[in-house]
Symmetry: C2
Subunit: 187 residues, 2 copies
């Protein structure tokens, strides 16, 4: 649970007592490769803070094509956030690509911590602010860029994922076919 404290204290200070309280809302879980944390149709009870491993949050369209909304690695939060925040059914899957550990907590945890500790509300607001900006950048990229530019942006942002994740999945994240992606760094 040490990394949880570090993670939070990058943004706000916590006393030992406060951290103990925060901690009590989180549960540790080991995750195997190919394990699913969320399946389409599930009640989304939890959000996850990744401690290690790599994960993908994705959905599947009627034709069975898969689209990756988010990758997640150490220090990132993930969930089917639409379903999580609205407490509805998942429209997405979360799959572990590289084994690791996660901490999970409920929406109640988030809300209660935010209520009890002003700093924790601040913490979540800062995280959301960053997430909002990152998503906006992604929207801009999807709206206006060529496959080439998308690939370059991805390589710049996540050089590590480029190594550890199959190109097929990177294509699913970029919204480009596997073949087109393959021809990019060839040409």
């Amino acid at each position: 649970m040490d990394s949880l404290r570090q993670h939070i204290e990058e943004i706000i200070p916590l006393t030992d007592a406060e951290f103990d309280h925060v901690q009590s809302f989180f549960t540790l879980k080991k995750v195997r490769k190919h394990q699913y944390l969320v399946n389409e149709g599930d009640e989304v009870k939890y959000e996850y803070l990744v401690l290690s491993g790599i994960y993908r949050v994705f959905y599947v369209d009627e034709q069975g094509k898969e689209y990756i909304v988010q990758f997640a690695k150490a220090g990132w939060w993930m969930s089917d956030y639409e379903a999580f925040f609205k407490q509805g059914k998942a429209s997405m899957f979360i799959e572990c690509l590289v084994a690791g550990e996660v901490l999970y907590a409920t929406l109640d945890a988030r809300e209660q911590l935010s209520k009890e500790l002003h700093q924790m509300e601040h913490f979540f607001r800062v995280k959301l602010t960053n997430g909002y900006v990152a998503q906006q950048q992604r929207i801009k990229l999807l709206l206006s860029s060529t496959p080439q530019q998308r690939y370059e942006a991805f390589a710049r942002l996540y050089p590590d994922l480029l190594q550890q994740v199959p190109k097929k999945l990177i294509a699913e994240y970029l919204g480009v076919s596997r073949e087109t992606l393959s021809r990019l760094y060839a040409g």
Copy 2:
């Protein structure tokens, strides 16, 4: 300033004294059609809460093509949020499409209010949460849907904008050419 209070009290309660304080951070501005609130390259000092009128937040690529990141109407917040939060230069423009009024405030206002009033931090967190979910839906739409589906989703979400905004601009929001959009509801 009445609508500001209403807007905030949809989410949190405020005493008169608290609201007075909140209010003091906001300034009213009338905006004419075709007026720009933000220009590419500007320091983005403010975020805007729309009271009336319609606005577009957009950017322009190297070839001069325009892409709309966000429309805004009464009750919506807008800015070049990447630049606003990071206090950097704008990469986008904000243009008024239908004349109206906005309230504007600085990043300092947001941060100070969040610090002084726990409820205001809550307010901003809730707003960001909603924005985050909305953006995620947009990302999913951009990743996987056909022009047809994008148009239908837009029509469902914003039937009013469909009426008041030129189709050309809706095309720029959907990431589709004007011509393709035009052929959708013809066929």
